[in-house]
């Protein structure tokens, strides 16, 4: 989803050609609606411009930066929307179905409940999530198992949102420090 922070020549070439051809095609189609026969003229102009851009891709540097910043802005909006949908729609609706946690008022009108200490072995289970880390490729089956085991199968409906959130995740391209001599 993200374009590279530091585009190589090829990135700029492909970006430039894509944008110029795309714009040419779109402009050609609009022009065709206004006057017949313009589509091919404008498209041909787009092809010529794309040729120039592929020879001198650095002319697209500024456009690339602007496009990248718009893409980043879009990603931020998309992330915010996804989280908002989860928090304000999904959780609210599911919350109407109640909770397995004993959140209600206990007998006698108080919320004080007696807790017993865990046995030595159970302390480990308490931190099961961190004690037994799941391999990256097998997170889904572990997630499903946990959902079944804990009686929270509804969380499976979060998966599409989690996948989309991962796709729209913040740009984590390694920013290589500048001004260092890094060969060794």
């Amino acid at each position: 989803m993200y374009l590279p922070i530091r585009p190589r020549r090829t990135h700029l070439q492909v970006f430039g050609v894509t944008m110029v051809l795309g714009t040419g095609l779109l402009a050609g189609m609009i022009a065709e609606q206004i006057a017949a026969g313009w589509f091919w003229q404008i498209s041909a102009m787009g092809v010529i411009l794309a040729g120039i851009v592929s020879m001198r891709p650095t002319v697209m540097s500024r456009a690339y930066e602007v496009w990248r910043s718009f893409a980043e802005l879009y990603m931020r909006v998309a992330r915010w929307t996804l989280k908002a949908v989860c928090f304000f729609i999904l959780f609210v609706i599911v919350g109407r179905g109640g909770s397995t946690l004993p959140l209600g008022v206990q007998a006698g009108g108080i919320q004080w409940g007696e807790r017993k200490s865990l046995s030595r072995d159970e302390f480990l289970l308490e931190f099961e999530g961190t004690a037994h880390s799941v391999p990256a490729g097998k997170w889904f089956s572990a997630y499903v198992q946990w959902a079944k085991r804990s009686g929270n199968t509804w969380v499976l409906m979060l998966v599409p949102f989690l996948v989309l959130l991962a796709y729209f995740d913040e740009d984590v391209q390694a920013d290589i420090p500048q001004n260092i001599y890094t060969l060794f």
Partner: protein
């Protein structure tokens, strides 16, 4: 169960609601996918710098022989690399050349396509670069000594990169790679070249084996500090030895100082000083003045590239030259070669 049913309903509703958001970003997704996919098809297979070096028992490392490949520099771009049977850049031999350039990655042509490196640009100058990325002056002196008899009657140009050579000469390692260095052995100020620690093993004797940052060090080399005094004293010894080797075989030595891009931009230099709370006064002419003085004493010609280069000759995210920078250096070397030919 009720919560599961509610979740199905809520998720469906949520997904319907975000469809417009996803549709709005479709164009960004398509462009990004096209750029990544097509660029992947167009670019040649690349190597990383770690893959092109091998251990050398006398020099610490050198580039592999007969390379004809593309390297990826993460901060910049892909470039084409060609080396000869010794791992030196290009296919020209020392025997056929009239100018032999010793140096580090600048001389090796790191960061630009082989054909666009200064050593390949001017066909009228038979020039051989003998270099490897990361070399310091000690390694270059050892090379000079190794190749001395092949340098007879030639013009020898020795690149001194202010950005790291001055410091690296004093260090037994460079970011974990063991390197020849110089040290003072007694109170009389005698210096010796140390190579006995060289091995393919990673250097672990000090914390310095991390990736070294040079910009915090540079302000100290541009002012009157203990480090600067040691660094220039070491340079003096190395250049004296180099001059002696060249005189011994009848070669003409020229020392060419490559400025750090930092020195070409006073604002950056002041910024570097502030970041490190460096209070001493900075003298951007100090390295050139010191080197010029050392060369004058040895009757060696000194050329400061600081007078000929601008920040545009350096890449924005590392210290290597751009294609324009290489053209500029090729022009300077061409002029130097013509003058030298004229005198002979």
């Amino acid at each position: 169960m009720i919560r599961f049913i509610l979740a199905i309903f809520a998720a469906t509703l949520g997904l319907i609601l975000i469809i417009p958001v996803l549709a709005g970003g479709l164009v960004f997704m398509i462009v990004a996918s096209l750029v990544h996919t097509i660029a992947g098809w167009l670019e040649p297979p690349v190597l990383r710098w770690q893959q092109i070096y091998e251990f050398d028992a006398e020099l610490g490392w050198k580039a592999k022989a007969h390379l004809d490949c593309h390297l990826l520099e993460d901060r910049d771009d892909i470039f084409h690399v060609v080396t000869d049977e010794h791992g030196w850049p290009g296919t020209m031999t020392i025997e056929r050349s009239e100018v032999v350039v010793f140096g580090d990655s600048h001389a090796w042509g790191y960061g630009v396509d082989h054909k666009k490196a200064f050593s390949q640009l001017d066909p009228s100058v038979p020039l051989k670069a003998v270099a490897a990325p990361g070399y310091n002056l000690v390694q270059e002196l050892l090379l000079l000594e190794q190749l001395a008899y092949q340098l007879k009657g030639k013009l020898v140009v020795w690149f001194v990169y202010i950005g790291n050579d001055l410091f690296d000469n004093l260090s037994p390692e460079m970011s974990g790679y063991r390197t020849p260095f110089v040290r003072q052995v007694n109170a009389e100020g005698k210096w010796e070249v140390v190579t006995r620690h060289l091995s393919p093993e990673r250097w672990r004797a000090s914390d310095a084996s991390k990736l070294r940052k040079y910009y915090p060090i540079l302000p100290a080399l541009y002012s009157d500090t203990f480090l600067a005094r040691r660094a220039y004293a070491a340079c003096r010894v190395l250049i004296e030895k180099g001059a002696e080797v060249c005189r011994g075989v009848g070669a003409d030595l020229v020392v060419m100082a490559i400025p750090s891009p930092l020195a070409l931009n006073p604002v950056l230099m002041q910024q570097a000083c502030k970041e490190k709370s460096f209070s001493s006064s900075i003298d951007v002419e100090l390295p050139d003045r010191e080197l010029a003085e050392i060369c004058r004493e040895q009757a060696v010609r000194f050329i400061s590239l600081k007078q000929h280069m601008t920040p545009q000759h350096f890449k924005p995210f590392d210290d290597h030259w751009t294609e324009e920078g290489h053209r500029n250096v090729a022009h300077i070397l061409g002029t130097l070669h013509r003058e030298w030919k004229h005198r002979h």
